[in-house]
Symmetry: C2
């Protein structure tokens, strides 16, 4: 299934490349490497761009990009959800083999139902988001406000972070409504479909089927958002010029952007201190939550690793987190992701330092971390990379999306071969 998955994503990317390379997609000529970069960035929902999206692509090209983003984001969410469901035995009707069938668009009724609800959930979120953004964009005098609203709503929910504005959302850094709308869309997308279902059931008084995983996701997300906002608020010199309320909003937005891996920015990343870049990199590496549209190692993996270190230092027999035992198998999965991440990052950095020796170390590390976590934040060097450097980033974006997902699928497929019940259900 992993190969099929990679093949699926790559074929999306190639179709996107072909469409974006058509003259009708472009306002001004774009080099082949840059159209490939854009297509890969869209399908992987990264949002890094070597050329200005608004200035280079025609309305048709933008529609193609939006379709790629939607396909990438939705595909990721669907597949991720299946992986989660498949390891969650108690759900009954959802059998593990549906994961595999999902790649071939199966006709089983439960699968169709599930797919349908994910799609509806996505469309409703994006629709409400687009409406809210339209009203605010229109009021702010943004030309072509409807299209801008639709584009940014989908881009936010799919945690793609592509923007048609020249400086991402910097011109709206003091607009509470737009900050809020984008943040909510990104968080909904990043926290994932299953946690929404879980929250919904809890609200309706039904049993919380994914209670443990949801609890971990919510707590970790809150801790990261709180801690990140605090650190950025206190230590970032660039923000000191702002009034306290805008400063807090900017600190929160940038933390949210890195943590959900959406990758919008309301303040310039280029001007940030290296210490804050380090914090953002840490947030980008940890990333979002499983079964959502976001990238990165996942908050749940991070939680499992945290539990492991604590248990080891306390010399405990078993790894526990939130008073639940975490199975060795799932720890191994989290470790494999971490090791894969670290290895890939080290190799990519070595190559990037060879191909783009004129860039600073921290800018390249930030770029690599951003690409692997499918975040899309950048210190501004993306367009200046050499062609080989761009190719490396393309590989990183693909590997960051498909590779980490593969580990999730491997986890699911693994469970398939076991008959007994698990005594935990922390999903990685």
């Amino acid at each position: 299934p992993a190969r099929l998955l990679l093949f699926g994503y790559v074929s999306y990317m190639l179709v996107g490349w072909a469409l974006l390379a058509l003259p009708v997609s472009q306002i001004q000529p774009v080099a082949a490497i840059d159209t490939l970069f854009t297509a890969v960035s869209a399908v992987s929902t990264t949002g890094l761009a070597t050329v200005s999206v608004g200035g280079s692509f025609s309305p048709f090209g933008e529609v193609v990009m939006l379709a790629l983003i939607q396909a990438g984001g939705l595909g990721y969410m669907t597949i991720g959800s299946f992986a989660v469901l498949s390891v969650y035995h108690r759900l009954g009707r959802m059998r593990t083999h549906t994961v595999r069938q999902a790649f071939n668009l199966p006709e089983g009724i439960s699968v169709v139902m599930f797919l349908r609800s994910v799609v509806w959930f996505t469309l409703i979120c994006e629709g409400i988001g687009a409406l809210a953004l339209f009203l605010m964009f229109h009021h702010a005098g943004v030309p072509n406000a409807l299209w801008m609203a639709v584009f940014h709503s989908i881009s936010a929910f799919c945690t793609a972070g592509f923007s048609l504005f020249d400086n991402s959302l910097e011109m709206f850094h003091d607009h509470v409504g737009i900050n809020l709308a984008i943040s909510i869309l990104s968080l909904l997308g990043a926290m994932g479909f299953l946690i929404i279902v879980d929250g919904w059931r809890a609200l309706m008084g039904r049993e919380r089927v994914l209670g443990f995983t949801s609890k971990v996701i919510v707590r970790m997300t809150m801790v990261f958002l709180g801690l990140g906002t605090l650190i950025l608020f206190v230590t970032e010199p660039e923000l000191t010029a702002l009034p306290p309320d805008e400063r807090l909003m900017a600190a929160f937005f940038q933390t949210m952007s890195a943590s959900t891996t959406v990758g919008f920015n309301t303040v310039s990343i280029t001007g940030m201190s290296q210490a804050v870049l380090m914090v953002l990199m840490a947030l980008m590496v940890v990333g979002a939550s499983p079964a959502g549209t976001g990238g990165g190692l996942k908050t749940t993996s991070f939680a499992a690793l945290l539990g492991l270190v604590r248990s080891t230092l306390k010399n405990r027999e078993a790894v526990r987190f939130f008073k639940r035992r975490v199975s060795d198998e799932k720890l191994n999965m989290a470790t494999a992701s971490l090791a894969y991440y670290a290895g890939l990052c080290g190799l990519a950095m070595f190559l990037l330092l060879l191909t783009d020796a004129d860039q600073t170390f921290e800018a390249l590390l930030f770029e690599a971390t951003s690409a692997m976590g499918t975040v899309g934040l950048s210190t501004g060097i993306t367009g200046d990379l050499s062609d080989l450097g761009k190719l490396i980033v393309i590989v990183l974006m693909t590997a960051g999306r498909v590779g980490i997902l593969t580990f999730g699928i491997a986890l699911a497929a693994h469970d398939e071969s076991r008959a007994e019940e698990q005594d935990d259900n922390l999903v990685l």
Copy 2:
């Protein structure tokens, strides 16, 4: 035991600090933070220095330093060996509880015998090394050749990497004999006492008691040395000026220096390209082998992690390496070390970027990696760090040595509580 261990190391450091702070130890006044730095660097066998060792400390001060290095290196090797032995059940007489007794200098006969043989092994290696270095230093016209030979022999075997020369060993970059002697001493120290015992038994035709671990250590060490040498030889611009044979020797020496965590250099680190710095950092993070004097994550942990990623990608039920199964427990230990390392590094980098914002990102990252792995290579910024920055590096050197060891001890103590046999004996 972990606290006792930390306490032991810290008391060595404090005694060393007090002794080095005496006026009789110094030629010229050295600030308190710098004497503390030197003491911690010596006990942790790191070798980073904020002041010139030869130019700041008197012969008495140098003797104190050498005693600290020997105590740190030998202590580490002894404790590490016990940890290894304790998880190795088949060795019979060596029982797990000796690990704890070792910290209190026990009187059990087997422990004394073991300690004695480690000490003898160390003294013999250092003695032969000192003799060889004396002959070569004397021939090269180095003043005070005997003391220089003793100091550098001990410094190499304990993988401390302190040098009394102003530019480490740069003046001997073309001296085959000295390169060879230092390399052999470092490799013997870094590969550890147990592998020597194992090799010796194999040579004598007896059974290879630590066969599996030894095999992993030897293969991983060879792979790292070979790969590192090749990459440095091909990609480092600084080496292109040298004739091919010297270029190869310099590439090998620098790889060996990072990999064994000894930390000498025969070419300037400051002048190296960022890509090669990245390679050296990777080597420093992986580090040396267990039960030796070197630092880092350990080659065996790396091997286990490599096996895990491979098994996950191949969707195998069990993690295998060299056709042997690796237990989940040991994988967890390797993971905990990796996560501890990554977390510590991220936190330290954030703080260093705040305290020493005038330094470049890569120089600070190199410094932090070097300190955590107790390597001692530096791009030359150590002396220019702020006092807070120096304190952070002091904490890193201590944590790099004691922290990683604690994980090893935790592994040993853990096994104690289990009665059944392990089906693998890969030591982490």
